[in-house]
Structure formats: structure tokens, C-alpha cells
Amino acid sequence: MRSVPSLVFLTVAALASVFPLYFMVVSATNTSQDVLGSRLLPGGQLVENLNKLLAAQDLGAAMWNSTLNAVGTTALSLLVCSIAGYGFEVFHSRNKDRLMGVLLLAMMIPFAATMIPLFRMFADFGLTSTTIAVILPAISVPFIILLFRQAARSFPHEIVEAARIDGLRELGIFLRIFIPTMRSTYAAAAVVIFMTAWNNFLWPKVILINEAFQTMPMLISNLTSGYVTDYGVLMLAVLLTSLPTMVLFLVLQRAFAQGITGAIK
């Protein structure tokens, strides 16, 4: 019986968390007027909203660009950050904690402060409106390095020693022992990096001047820029933008939880 209040509390909290998602899905099937009137039942406007969205925006290109940016960032960032995290933990150096301190300090600098020098740098290299300009600044993330370093703490050093004695090179140890052991950390990091890259708005908006490179968050922003906003179409775009990250999270959910808590199997 004691569990009844907590059950009620949890149910209410769960409903409150799910409600915005529900409203998003339902609104994508309603007219603009119905969305403004907070209609909570599904409507029959889904196809019409999709047609309007396709007519107004290049949805396919935006999806493709977002995927390219997010997948590219995730792959490169996982590689770079995991090597860094591994190196910080496995190798011994007197200055590595100081270096880590500097890295963590870099987390505190807001992006807006570095945006203009960064833009200047990429413009000097002739890299405005390129995918590489979106991916490069997002590759090395102090938080992900920290995540890998913390996870590597529970990585048994004896294995590294044994592998060295058996004649495996450092790269081999990393590729053949570290990566397979740390799969759940990789999954957790992948979810975090993919979501951040997928939702990134400010930097892509500034550096991608050519509209052929438009990403999904930029597409949503375009939908709200006119004198008249169609809220049904807007909600459908938001839903489509959220789907890939939702699917990725749901699929990697268990590994994500293990990775964040640092469990190793």
C-alpha cells in the first residue's frame, strides 16, 4: 500500500514528460487553427501538412545534410575523443591532469565567444558552406573525453600489460582490446554526440551560407520566419526532426544507461 502515493506521483510525472511529445505528434495531424486552439485529438491533416511542407522547403536535402553532419561528427568525434580518453588514463605523464584541467576549462567558454574568430578562420581557409566546417569544430568535445577517461578507469590495466608482453602494439591494444570492451561507453557517447550534432543550430546557420546545405533545425527556423506561421506544418517538421534522434536513443537505450554509469561487460 505504501507504494500507491509513489505510483501516483510517478504516473503523473511520466504523463507530464510524455505530454509534449504527444502534443507534437497530434499537432502534426491538425490544421494551424486547431494547433492554436490546443486540440488534443488527432486530425486528418497529416498528408496535407506534409504536402505543404514539401512544397515550402527542400525536406530531402535538409534531412540528408543533417544526417551527413551528424553521422560524420559522431564517427570522427568518437574516434578522437576515445583515443584521448584512453591516452589520458592508460599512459602516465606528470602533466596530464593539468592538460585535462585546461580541457575542462574550455568547456566553460560559451560558443558565442569563439564564433567570430572561428568563422574568420574557416573563411580564410575558403571553407564556408562546407560540411567539413560544420564537423571540424565539433569533433573534440571535453565532456566526451572526460566520459571515456572515467570509463577507462575501470578498464583493467593488467590486460594492457599482458597484451604488451604478448607483443601487441599500442594501436592494436586500442583497436582490438579497448574498443570492444568499451562498447557501452561508445554507445552512450554516440547518442550524446549525435543528438548534439543533429540539433546544432547556431554554428551551421552562420557557416552554411549556401541554402543547399540547410539542415533540419534551420528548416524549422525557416518555417517560423514569415508573417504567417502554419503551426500544423511546423509541428510536422519538428516531429520529423526529432524522429532520428528518438529512434537512435530507443535502440541504444540499454547500452546508453550502462555507458553513462560506467559499467563494463
Binding site: G60, W64, I116, T128, N210, Q214, N222, V228, T229, V251
Partner: protein, 437 residues
């Protein structure tokens, strides 16, 4: 097991992406780069504008009309929200990467002076380009003029209108005539009566926004800045009176405050209020409520009796085309001169489908403008809007117009919470002076 999960996730994401990419109809491979053509032979004009149904559409139509006589010229419009245009302009000006500018970009009239004064390197003067600026209302041209030079071709009309639901007015025994050429005192009295009888407020507005107050202020010929651009927020009788009107509107319940722009649109689309006062472009949002067709009328604004010019006309918003410093200047100016500043055919084409009402006065003489509009109970709303626009007093918005509005908005919130108006405005004045240092 885990490998399977990873594969499944990749497959899942890929499927959705591919499916959507397929229905999107191909990826964008056109070179719509920001680079304007500074090369004399380049016959392509790149343009930044933000509303596909409105200014982007208008620009594309202008391109079609221009192409009739100039088949070699292509116009490429890059849809960019206004906030993003502002971010890009700031970034490009500060980094000196001006070759990334398009040939033409659209700018909000309210932000024009600030950009012109802070980043003159973004603009090209088009005073002697052959465009006749006398064919636009003086109050609108003033936004894009500095030291006698013109830097913009005015596009859409920001004339302020009072739009009201005639069915709700009728329920309380009123007609649109009872709201035409009246004063704010009469407006509030009528509004209180209608609220008492029907339970519906006349107006709504976003809390913490000063749009309505600046509209009232402009109707008197008053501004937050003097001719030299210095803030005149203190000792400004018109502003004090405008704030007094706003306070009375809120306290009487005739104006209901909401928290966001979306809620504001929702209030009239959902029939929670009986009307709204805003730039004429708000008619587009009003018409999204298809079930209210024939139930709306528009009229002019109430006047602030006894202060300044006390007119029934004001403006909010509107935008102008800028020829950038990276443009093929001659081509860009000729294009704008032949379309936005010289073609009734063009304005006749864009009006019915986009509702983009011209600032270019000769356009309003066309029959298309005089057509009755069924949504507004057969009123010729377009013609009315142009008539209203031509009577708006010209005011100085100053380079720090947005800072001025923000400071006054903050002051209004404080005043509604019980602060003394004069001291709240003195604080606003100090804030703007600080920002200008």
C-alpha cells in the same frame, strides 16, 4: 547481441532518412552561394529574404517580370529568416568577409538605421540610380535614408490597422463606424461596454512588448529619439500619454496580455478576442481562421487626443530591399527600379496571392487594389491600407530603435506592476544612453 542492436539502430536511422530524402525530391545541389556578383558580366542576382509566401514569392515574381525584357538575368532567392540575416550581416561585417554578401537583401525597416550606422560597409547608396523615391511615402523612405542618401527600396507596407470582428461588435450593438476616426478614450469606453456585454476583450498583446505603445506614439508624430538620434524617453508627453492609454487598456480588461507571439495569434484565431491592432501584414494571420471569413473589418487607429499631431495613422514593421556592397550595383538597382519601384503589373500579380501590399504609391491606383475582399466582408482592404500608409506621420527611429523599444518595454512591465511612470522611464532613458556609449 549488442552488434545486432547497433546494426538495427543504424538501419533504423538510415531507413527514416532515406525514406524522407526520397519524398523530399532530391538533394539540393544548386550553387546558391552567398557570393554576390561583383563581376560586371555576371547576370545572376542572389537575394536573401525570409518569407516563402510573401517576400520570397514577391522576389521570384519580380524576377519573372524582369526576365521579360532581360532574359539573360537570373535571380536566385535564398530563404533566410530575418534573425539569421541579421546574424550573418553582423558576422560578415565584423570579419570583413564582404564577398559572402548577396547582391540584394531584405531588411526590417525598424533595424535599418542601426545597421546603416554601425555597418555602412554592407550597403551601397542608390540615390542616383534612377529610382524615384518620391513615389514612396516619406515616412517609409526615412527608414533607409541617412544624410540625404537612399540605401533601400521600400517593399511591404507596415501601415497600422484596427481589425475587428463585426459579429462580436454587432452582438453589443456596435459597427465598424463606431471605431473609425475615434480617440483612445472612446475606444476604451466602447471596449469596456463590449467586454461587459459579450465577455470578449477587444485586443490582445504580448506582455513585455511595446509595439502598441510605439504605434500610438508614432500616430502623434512622436518618437523615442530626437532628430539627432538622442533618446527622448524622459520628458516625452506623448510617450507618457501612450503608456497611460496602454495601462488603462490592460487594467480595464479591454486588452488581454499573453506570454508569446504564438498565443497572441491564437487569441484572435480562436475567437477569444474581438480584434487586434497591428501592421497590415497581420491580416495574413487573421485569414488562417477560415471559419471567420466575412466576419472581419478593418479601420484606422484611435488617435491620442490633445497630443502632437493626433492622427489616426501609424505603422509597425515593413521592410526594404538593400543593394549590398558586394553587388553588381547597376544590375541590382535597375532590377529593383523596374519592378519594386516601377511596375504596377508586378504589384497587381503579387497582391491577390500573397497579400503583399505595396508602399509604392502608383500601385494603389490599380483596379486590383480596389477589389472587395470577401474575408473582410467585401471591404477593399488593400486600398484602405495604402491610404492609411500615406498618412502616417514621419518620425525619427534612430540607430538604437530596438534598444529604445526594449527599454520602454521593460519600463511598461514595471509600470503595470505599480512603479511610478516617470522614474521607470528615467531608468529606460539611462539604459538606452548606456547602450549608446
Amino acid at each position: 547481441m549488442r552488434k545486432k542492436m547497433t546494426l538495427a539502430s543504424v538501419a533504423g536511422v538510415a531507413t527514416i532518412t532515406l525514406a524522407l530524402a526520397a519524398c523530399g525530391g532530391g538533394s539540393g545541389s544548386n550553387d546558391g552561394g552567398g557570393g554576390g556578383g561583383d563581376d560586371g558580366d555576371d547576370q545572376t542576382l542572389t537575394v536573401w529574404a525570409w518569407d516563402p509566401a510573401f517576400n520570397v514569392y514577391a522576389m521570384n515574381e519580380a524576377a519573372t517580370i524582369y526576365a521579360q525584357d532581360n532574359p539573360d538575368v537570373t535571380v536566385e532567392v535564398i530563404e533566410t529568416p530575418w534573425e539569421d540575416i541579421q546574424t550573418k550581416l553582423t558576422t560578415l561585417a565584423q570579419t570583413g568577409e564582404l564577398e559572402e554578401l548577396p547582391d540584394i537583401f531584405l531588411m526590417q525597416n525598424n533595424a535599418f538605421q542601426k545597421n546603416l550606422i554601425n555597418y555602412p560597409e554592407l550597403f551601397t547608396a542608390i540615390t542616383d540610380s534612377g529610382i524615384d523615391f518620391a513615389e514612396f511615402p516619406e515616412s517609409v523612405v526615412a527608414f533607409s535614408t541617412t544624410e540625404g542618401d537612399n540605401y533601400g527600396v521600400p517593399f511591404d507596407n507596415g501601415a497600422a490597422v484596427t481589425a475587428l470582428r463585426t459579429d462580436i461588435l454587432a452582438e453589443a450593438g456596435y459597427t465598424i463606424e463606431d471605431f473609425t476616426d475615434i480617440t483612445w478614450d472612446e475606444f476604451i469606453a466602447n471596449g469596456e461596454d463590449i467586454l461587459a456585454q459579450t465577455g470578449k476583450p477587444l485586443l490582445s498583446g504580448t506582455a513585455g512588448e511595446s509595439d502598441l505603445i510605439t504605434m500610438i506614439l508614432q500616430s502623434t508624430g512622436g518618437s523615442l529619439f530626437d532628430a539627432d538620434g538622442n533618446p527622448t524617453i524622459t520628458d516625452n508627453d506623448a510617450l507618457l500619454q501612450a503608456i497611460d492609454v496602454y495601462t488603462r487598456l490592460v487594467e480595464s480588461g479591454v486588452l488581454v496580455e499573453v506570454n508569446s507571439w504564438d498565443e497572441y495569434i491564437g487569441t484572435f484565431v480562436n475567437s477569444n478576442v474581438a480584434g487586434t491592432i497591428n501592421g497590415v501584414w497581420i491580416l495574413g494571420s487573421i485569414q488562417t481562421a477560415a471559419d471567420q471569413s466575412g466576419l472581419w473589418n478593418i479601420t484606422n487607429l484611435p488617435s491620442l487626443d490633445g497630443v502632437g499631431e493626433a492622427t489616426n495613422y501609424s505603422a509597425n514593421g515593413g521592410s526594404s530591399w538593400v543593394v549590398s556592397s558586394n553587388a553588381n550595383t547597376e544590375l541590382a538597382a535597375d532590377f529593383l527600379g523596374a519592378t519594386f519601384a516601377g511596375s504596377t503589373e508586378f504589384y497587381d500579380t503579387i497582391l491577390p496571392s500573397s497579400g503583399a501590399i505595396a508602399n509604392w504609391i502608383p500601385a494603389s491606383e490599380s483596379d486590383v487594389y480596389a477589389e472587395p475582399h470577401p474575408f473582410f466582408a467585401d471591404q477593399p482592404v488593400f486600398q484602405l491600407a495604402v491610404e492609411f500608409g500615406a498618412q502616417v506621420p514621419s518620425v525619427n527611429t534612430g540607430a538604437y530603435y530596438y534598444e529604445g523599444r526594449d527599454a520602454v518595454s521593460a519600463a511598461i512591465t514595471n509600470i503595470l506592476n505599480g512603479a511610478d511612470p516617470e522614474s521607470a522611464l528615467a531608468e529606460a532613458q539611462a539604459t538606452v544612453e548606456f547602450a549608446m556609449q
